[in-house]
């Protein structure tokens, strides 16, 4: 297609649906071209597949097989737990050689950890179980649709990995009226969705229609960045006979963030602390739509995904349709890695991904990108300068926070101010840290403060529980004493007990707390006084050896 045609197609779609403005955002240097040079390639079958039981966010699946079992391709080898969980299927036929803890990279938890994994040794025959494709999804009723999606073991393919069935169930409870398919992919390295749409736009659109039917929403919009011209033209063609709409939004990071995309598409903001479903909107990733297409139309469970292999340390960056469980070192070799140049290995994008030290970690359902970065792209972090409050971060922040203020309060551990300034509205997109001229790892500070605050809140809740329990205990002792002395009948209704309990706790607790605080204060001041006058009485000094 010629450039002129692309342009007209683009502008036609732009006029149809206009994206709303979103605050903040940055335009990081993108490295997308190299990995888009080749088509999506299938991977050969490696010698060993490592299949973590928890590839998603939520409860891990429960293994159905034991060591030594022979499994077929598509066979369910781990079933979803009670709720908030997805099943795992065998990507190829072979033997289970081990079920043990192995290192994995989990985007959702943002840390490296080891997890229970099924180790599958392929036999190379790739013999499959029987599939039940259903070329017309209209023939399936709603519960069947959900059941099939659940059986296929689909979770969010964008990176967070939330079980899709649960998300769809959520949407039914909330009466969703808008489904947004997120094909924005604003991370500067990832091209998995772009490659997918460029080559399999029809499948994605059908997947979107399936999800639309599954959510019972009235509208479906696919959001995509205006820089992805090839993908847009393909989508335009695929959408000709579909009710699904397309919205082209401006290229900036993080345009693909859940809240940002909702704002761009609808102009609405998700109220702080609430879920998009509360305002009748549901987001699904384009990769998830494709997986839904596979699950319903082809009947295949989720055993592979599109993953971008990129980074300057790779000779031929490209997108793979990888089997799940392939170690990333195997993929590196397929792309011709220059091991000496590889400085960092990143799973996920360069902005929100995590760095892994072990290249034996497997590809999971959420691995959308693997970067083998060299020193040229990721220079070692320079020393942190002082914050000069230049405000670049505030301009970049998509949540309209004041990162520089948050930083100073984080440093002084002023938790009240942090919450007042909206620390928990931070989506950790990293735009502030990207633009910071002082090279301050702002997001790390926020994460540390968040976990501190959460820990403190948890301990407060804990102590409140203990206090309640203690007070109830006291109350009960008192009450039984009263009962025995007054010889009253014991069947006082529960409603009577409650107000008494409250009265008791309010007065007593306040007084006790005030007393305790005063005691501590006087003790502290006395301690200070005694330390100050230390030279006179160095005999009895508590806590000097600290």
């Amino acid at each position: 297609m010629s450039i002129a045609n692309k342009f007209t197609a683009l502008s036609a779609w732009r006029h149809k649906l206009r994206a709303h403005a979103t605050p903040g955002g940055i335009r990081p240097k993108a490295y997308k071209k190299t990995s888009l040079r080749s088509r999506i390639m299938p991977t050969p079958i490696p010698g060993l597949l490592i299949l973590p039981l928890g590839q998603h966010q939520g409860t891990a699946a429960e293994a159905l097989v034991s060591v030594g079992d022979r499994v077929l391709k598509y066979q369910t080898i781990a079933a979803a737990a009670q709720s908030n969980s997805v099943a795992v299927h065998a990507p190829t036929s072979g033997t289970i050689v081990a079920i043990e803890n192995s290192p994995v990279a989990r985007l959702a938890n943002n840390l490296n950890e080891s997890q229970l994994c099924i180790h599958l040794e392929p036999d190379g025959k790739d013999s499959a179980t029987e599939l039940y494709p259903e070329s017309d999804y209209h023939l399936l009723d709603h519960s069947q649709l959900l059941q099939r999606i659940a059986d296929a073991g689909i979770c969010g393919m964008g990176g967070a990995g939330f079980p899709t069935r649960d998300k769809l169930q959520l949407s039914i409870d909330h009466k969703i009226d808008l489904l947004i398919i997120n094909a924005v992919e604003c991370e500067p390295y990832i091209t998995a969705d772009e490659a997918l749409i460029r080559e399999r736009a029809e499948a994605v659109v059908q997947g979107a229609e399936i999800l639309l039917a599954a959510t019972r929403a009235s509208r479906c919009v696919i959001g995509i960045e205006d820089s992805k011209t090839d993908a847009i033209t393909k989508l335009v063609a695929a959408l000709k006979n579909s009710s699904v709409e397309l919205m082209v939004i401006g290229t900036k990071y993080p345009a693909g963030g859940e809240k940002q995309l909702i704002q761009a598409v609808t102009g609405k903001e998700v109220p702080s602390g609430l879920h998009p479903a509360d305002i009748g909107i549901l987001l699904q990733n384009a990769g998830t739509a494709y997986a839904a297409y596979n699950a319903i139309i082809l009947g295949q469970p989720c055993i592979s995904r599109i993953t971008t292999l990129t980074g300057l340390a790779l000779q031929t960056p490209k997108n793979f349709e990888t089997l799940l469980g392939i170690p990333i070192s195997f993929l590196f070799e397929l792309c011709g890695i220059n091991e000496s140049a590889r400085l960092k290995t990143i799973i996920g994008g360069s902005m929100m991904g995590i760095e892994v030290s072990n290249t034996a970690v497997p590809v999971t359902k959420t691995t959308n990108c693997v970067i083998a970065g060299c020193a040229e792209e990721f220079p070692s972090p320079t020393d942190e300068h002082a914050c000069i409050r230049c405000g670049f971060c505030a301009t970049a922040c998509p949540a309209s926070l004041l990162p520089q203020q948050l930083l100073s309060y984080s440093k002084s551990s002023d938790h009240q101010q942090l919450q007042d300034h909206g620390l928990f509205d931070c989506i950790e997109c990293g735009a502030c840290a990207y633009v910071c001229p002082s090279k301050i790892p702002l997001v790390q500070y926020y994460r540390a403060s968040k976990s501190k605050i959460k820990a403190r809140q948890a301990s407060h809740a804990q102590s409140a529980r203990w206090q309640n329990r203690f007070q109830f205990h006291q109350f009960r002792i008192k009450k039984t004493a009263d009962d025995t002395s007054n010889k009253k009948p014991r069947d006082t209704p529960a409603a009577d007990i409650k107000p008494k309990l409250e009265d008791f706790s309010r007065d007593e607790a306040r007084r006790k707390i005030a007393d305790a605080v005063a005691r501590v204060q006087t003790r502290k001041s006395k301690l200070i006084a005694s330390t100050k006058n230390a030279n006179s009485n160095n005999g009895n000094m508590p806590g000097v050896e600290e």
Binding site: S408, Y409, K411, S412, D414
Partner: protein
């Protein structure tokens, strides 16, 4: 009109009670680290300063001076300002018990604030007419409370700054007050 405006601006900025006249400087450093508390304190100070100054002025001009009791003015001024504070605090105790408890001493010391007595004393020696003196008192009270709030906000920023150890706390606050005074002295001649 312009005279009154210029008197108010002069009292609030150019001859700021706290930093230029150096009255009630301690109040700057009394309030605690929450801005909301400082605003409460400043409001209280504003009401006390203004009302006490006006009452004292009228008392002095119409009662003490004609009776030749002006050498006892101090006793009367102190009694009036502390009574006003006491009555206000009693009212506050009923309405806002919490904020009162948080900074009890700071609130109580408002009555003995040297800015209150100082403005009253300055009114006795100034050559302004009674309405002009009232304008002056208003300006002084405004300048006092606004400065208290702005300085508290500045102190909040100093709390999170990496000030070298010996200067941390009161020393750097005094130096900041000095720099602000530098700036206010530059307003000289504005009116």
């Amino acid at each position: 009109m312009t005279t009154y405006l210029s008197i108010i601006i002069a009292a609030a900025l150019v001859n700021n009670v706290v930093l230029v006249q150096l009255l009630g400087v301690s109040s700057l450093f009394l309030s605690n680290s929450r801005l909301q508390n400082t605003i409460e304190l400043a409001t209280l100070n504003f009401i006390v300063l203004f009302s006490a100054a006006v009452i004292n002025l009228l008392l002095f001009r119409f009662i003490l001076l004609p009776l030749g009791l002006d050498f006892l003015k101090l006793l009367f001024f102190v009694a009036i300002s502390s009574s006003i504070t006491k009555l206000l605090l009693q009212w506050l105790k009923q309405r806002f018990p919490l904020s009162l408890r948080q900074q009890k001493l700071a609130f109580y010391l408002t009555g003995g604030n040297s800015a209150v007595i100082g403005v009253s004393l300055l009114n006795t020696v100034s050559h302004l007419s009674i309405p002009q003196s009232i304008a002056y008192s208003l300006g002084a009270a405004l300048g006092f409370s606004l400065l208290l709030v702005a300085f508290a906000a500045l102190r909040l920023r100093l709390d999170s700054a990496e000030v070298p150890a010996p200067f941390r706390g009161t020393a750097i606050q005094l130096i900041s007050a000095g720099i602000v005074t530098l700036c206010l002295l530059g307003f000289a001649g504005l009116v």
